[in-house]
Symmetry: D2
Subunit: 447 residues, 4 copies
């Protein structure tokens, strides 16, 4: 089966040079990555353990026509089609893949990504090129983090939060996978519909190594694939006007530690960025565990940045809504943009790409006698490695070959990490439901 | 608690005369009806057995200001509000009540409703005034009928049908209550979202005596309250480009008999109006029962008008979509409008308001030796009376006072009716779940 | 040549009843009026002394199709067509004629036009039905009055005023003929274009007896044909947020006297409605003449209502723009609409249709010993009759048959009128350029 | 006087890097050019011989704010303001200057402009960045060339042509100065207004050295400043769907010769690009002179590319309109874009920037024994130099210092050029009206 697509919107106005470059890219080493991301968005909503092999006769090509670009799909997943025609929303996601994986790959070839300012500008450029930097009068974008594998009552709770936010005209940004990344968008869509808001935003930020495992859910109407995990995290915190953290596993812990590491930077002391941890009654224990871990490792200052609001979607939404005015006033007072938080300081240590090899994981400085922001950065990396070992193709392979990652450090800290991770395992937050979790890490507690 | 609303859209451009008339109407005998309909749409989504008493301190007033109209709500149900402000979609429904109950009440004072042409023109006028007669290039409005009290798997099935219709760009019109009236809209909304269709239509047609029992679900984005049940039925068949019938009870049977009675009219022989009966696998028996009843009472010609397509949402949607071209071609060939089927002949017998008193019910001609269209009209009335006895305020009261309605007629016909109604009872289709059904009718089988 | 038009916009959503009524109307005694108005708007921009005979093979029919209305044109003027297709703007004007002459004719059959409230409500209804009552945040509609036959430098001046108003985002309403009715619109269109205002309004208000003589210029993008001259005048003053009066002849004098008569009504004392008389340097004498006539007949209070601002378009526009805030504040303070001045009191004497027969003209009470508002009303009628005698078909005919109208009254008043009219004649303001003026009136100065 | 502007549209979404670069550019050697272009567009509509000195206290600065860019104007010309606020259309033009002079200056630093493909892609990129590459279903962009200094009847004629094109839904692209560059836009604006076309396009293509002398007229609603005259010419022919040539002088001759040189390229044999020469009756002699020159120098094949249609705006517009279908069919047949003619071959000789120094002018190969396309290229350069010597700052200065340009070549060719240029002089086409022409060239006729 062969389908030929005419690109939507701007993509039909490429120059011949650009078409040629895209075509070349699609034949390059990038191709494997490109094909698997394309497959992930085309097969949205249909679980598959092994996309790559299940659709081994799938192929995607960009055809250069003088008149512009054509996208050729060979044997695309049924999920992408209705009566032989691609679903518009799915084509939008596919074009995001072309834009962010292929088009951008050559664009930033000469960018110096060791330069912090360049990184921040490039992220802005990527987001703007994806048309997600929109002029606004009132801040309204709520970033929601949380696990892709959560319990049914937790999922319902994330929907209810999204609904209450949507009723109040707020928009949602998530990592765009299932679970806590889908619930708030689904709820907000209903809230927006009731308020007759037609331009509600469901912004998904993802990155190449995770998109296959957490394909963008169909509600996402703006999709951006950032180059790597650190740039994705920076994009989250710079576009966020508020952040809600739902129950989750290692990935959520990584996000939280990244956020705290940045907010503890003295330059960011006056920043207004509400952080709310919320979930149903049954999740209180989870949050207390997290809060205790944060306080005992990063200190009371870090703990105080977190507002825990259990089981009250209406109050959470009212709180966030009220904060939007403060966010606006702060941005205006420092002359910052509403759509992108330029003034937030992010240390290079949080920007550089961390490669979770066994060596790098083993070498992490996990001692308490270092500045809190550095400790947060190291802890963030530790959890990032665990996420990789759990679900990312390369990480999973490395663990299979060399055994679990070894984490070594201050005994009391190691014990705390161990306890937290064990709790995640027990609560089933490390893997998709139905599978047994095989730890990809080993905590060395040397007394 | 007191809330003052500025009317949305056109309603802020009333003349002083019109404001005065509205205000007078709202103090008239109409007021009780108006208040209870308003209450129903304001309390949407929240079940209440006894709206009237539960919200006895609720009041609604129209205030005349030189600058226009203000709507005053005293103690409205919480369900209508977010942080003290009315939900936009709910206000739209409320304004539909003002428009259709109050504004229209004086508009048609002089209309001769015994004149068939006048009736058809008035219904058009009501629909156009409600802004639901929209220019279209391709017919796309699918009327869905079915029970408000259906089984969970049936409900899921109606959603799936709606989803498949929505994916194909089709719009939904229902009676706008729960169950089979909500599922197709919910599904279509998701399908439209995936196809990035922003102007999807979820048209609800209701009438005053039923709105309280079947409040418009929140997805409805166009709501019209026709004056009575016969005008509502005529509105359905004149705006429909296709009709899908899901499992239901007496109400659904009424709708089906009305439809068949009209389609059997020789003038309508060439009309193109696909009628599909569909449901999950488990509902096949139900449809066979219906089909058998139809065939044995109205004949094979009637039976052949019904296309039963069990358990295949994709095929149903593809079938309907394909038929839209035929509908367009037919309308064009006879010079009829796409948005309103002027050429469909509807006999006066189907237009006149039927009052289901005990006398009228007893007097129904339920014999087989009459033209099929007349028989269909009588059967339609019989089922209409049963619906009234089941859920409409006045009907329920009458049955409580005078005992069940007595239906008399041809024995073989009476047996068939009895059998069909017993099946509805057994399948729990006569009442909302959880309550035991007490028949409001008694079939006299005189041998 | 035969052209068949599909109606634009709403007119394709008529009910069958409405189509039937329209068709019947177009075959009725109204037909002659309808045909000549249609001809006038179709021949726009092309002067013709004798439209009726020049296009004697022209015909217009409304064809009833089940699917709606079709407009059939037989031998329409070339001016209406481009390559055999009607110009969209011209079709809009044509549909205004159908709507206001035919559709409305039956709509107000039962309206009691002796009832002042009914008149005001009917005018609102006509304007709203024509979609010219638009919600606004800030008043911005400037009514411009002035002669259709003005000097070249005066015309350029009206364009310059329009340009300066347009640059400031103000909209224009005129009587929609040539001269001072066209200049301000043309200028405003340029000003709007420079400010990238795409929804600039060029509202033309006219009436059947004048439309042939003063066909709507092509810039008019909203056209309403009020039933008679008095309703047109009332429409002007109720939609106006400010009024500019340019040099003109008897018609302009009529408008000014109407306006003064109303503003002198004690009920209107607090009304905020700026009235500016302006023209190029050379027109100062004209305005002084007018002002003197007003002061000596209606008194200083009347004179003080007029602000004469010679030869300074920028200052005039700045003055008007600044006044808009006052107008808004006043409307808000009394709870009146921004789009229609409901609170302005208009005495029945100004609402009743005046038939300028020789008897009625002779019977006018033109004495100074009466209340100023009554005097203004009488003077208004006198000038109205002169306009009729000058350019309206019926008036011209009557004068031809019975000689000039005789006006009798207080000698000093009569002398003033004579002087004013003589000035109009001398300045060539009574007829289109190139023709010699033959007075249609005779002033009786009985000493 | 100091005015601070918030950028419109996209320009408020710049990254901090971009703002910094813009600011740096505005302090660079580019500044003088930038300031004079800014001044030209701000003083639009007001002739000034010496903008630079008349507004010597004018200054423009770009202020970097974290929140984005601010544009600071010190003592801007009155013409740009209304009540102290800049006219929106003028601000759009100003932003085009910032975008094209400053923003683009660094963008193409590394582009290899000796590479023909790169040039064509860069021009596309500049136009797309200016948002003038718009998706279209039917080709509709008519490029109009002609003199900035034309006679009154010729100007009226260009307006009439524009009007007839606008009535037929066609859009206009010109060099955006006065005369034949303004008339067609003005006429089209009226035609569009009558047809209620709200998105009519009036595209102006200019270049830095000419913008001061031919400031964009206020009707231009899309303005692009190409880097130099050759890129401007390439932009014209690649966006054109048809080209109309009005009477003009040396500049128009340059454009015509450029166009013929390209169309004579054998690769372009099958191209569909109608070229119409038109003007009022009195201009026939002019066109015959041109045609004769073309035939005797470039041959009959070149002559046959020109369609001369004197004095018939309706027929011209009908002809162009009909051709649009052929243009579309051709583009579709070769798979080319509708918005940009990628398949048109343009030799490097027509792309390279020609510097009209005395040496370069003297060195031009003006002999007949060379391929026609090369001869066309040389003749194009000769006329280009004459334009520079006539009105461009640098050229005028060079001629003042070193005397007229010397042109040498084949005697018969030289005689023909001399004759043509003399005719331009006699007809007053070389300078703005009112000034006496002092030739900037000298033709050497060596026998």
């Amino acid at each position: 089966m062969r389908i030929l697509l005419n690109p939507l919107d701007g993509m039909n106005l490429l120059s011949q040079n650009e078409v040629a470059k895209l075509q070349k890219s699609s034949n390059s080493p990038l191709y494997t990555l490109f094909r698997s991301c394309a497959l992930a968005v085309l097969n949205v909503g249909h679980e598959s353990d092994d996309l790559y092999n299940e659709f081994d006769d799938f192929d995607i090509n960009l055809l250069s026509r003088e008149r512009g670009l054509k996208i050729e799909l060979i044997n695309p997943p049924e999920a992408a089609l209705v009566d032989g025609e691609i679903i518009t929303g799915t084509q939008e996601h596919l074009q995001s893949v072309i834009r962010d994986i292929l088009f951008n790959s050559s664009k930033y070839e000469t960018t110096d990504f060791t330069n912090s300012v360049e990184v921040t500008n490039a992220i802005f450029d990527i987001l703007r090129h994806a048309n997600v930097i929109l002029p606004t009068d009132l801040p309204n974008l709520v970033v929601c983090w949380g696990g892709h594998s959560i319990k049914e009552n937790e999922y319902r709770y994330t929907k209810e939060i999204g609904y209450q936010l949507g009723l109040r005209g707020l928009n949602i940004c998530t990592g765009c996978g299932p679970g806590a990344m889908k619930g708030p968008m689904k709820g907000a869509a209903l809230g927006h519909a009731k308020q007759r808001i037609k331009n509600g935003r469901y912004l998904g930020l993802t990155e190449p190594s995770i998109i296959a495992a957490e394909a963008p859910n169909p509600i996402v109407n703006e999709l951006v694939i950032l180059p790597d995990i650190e740039k994705r995290l920076e994009a989250f915190v710079r576009v966020a006007h508020a952040i809600i953290i739902f129950p989750g596993g290692a990935g959520t812990a990584e996000e939280l530690l990244y956020l705290l590491g940045i907010m503890l930077n003295p330059n960011n002391k006056s920043q207004v960025l509400p952080i709310v941890l919320t979930g149903p009654e049954e999740s209180i224990a989870y949050f207390e565990e997290i809060a205790e871990f944060v306080e005992s490792t990063l200190g009371k200052e870090a703990r105080d940045l977190l507002k825990i609001m259990p089981n009250d979607p209406v109050r959470v939404a009212q709180f966030i809504k009220a904060k939007m005015v403060e966010v606006r006033d702060f941005r205006r007072s420092v002359g910052d943009a509403y759509q992108y938080n330029w003034t937030l300081s992010i240390d290079a240590d949080f920007q550089h790409s961390f490669d979770p090899s066994h060596e790098n994981m083993a070498a992490l400085n996990l001692n308490l006698d270092q500045p809190k922001t550095l400790l947060a950065a190291s802890l963030r990396k530790a959890f990032s490695g665990i996420v990789a070992g759990n679900i990312k193709e390369q990480g999973v392979l490395a663990v299979k070959q060399k055994g679990p990652f070894i984490l070594t450090g201050d005994p009391s800290l190691m014990q705390k990490m161990d306890k937290l991770l064990m709790a995640f395992v027990e609560q089933g937050r490390m893997k998709m439901p139905g599978s047994k979790y095989e730890p990809c890490y080993q905590i060395n507690i040397v007394s």
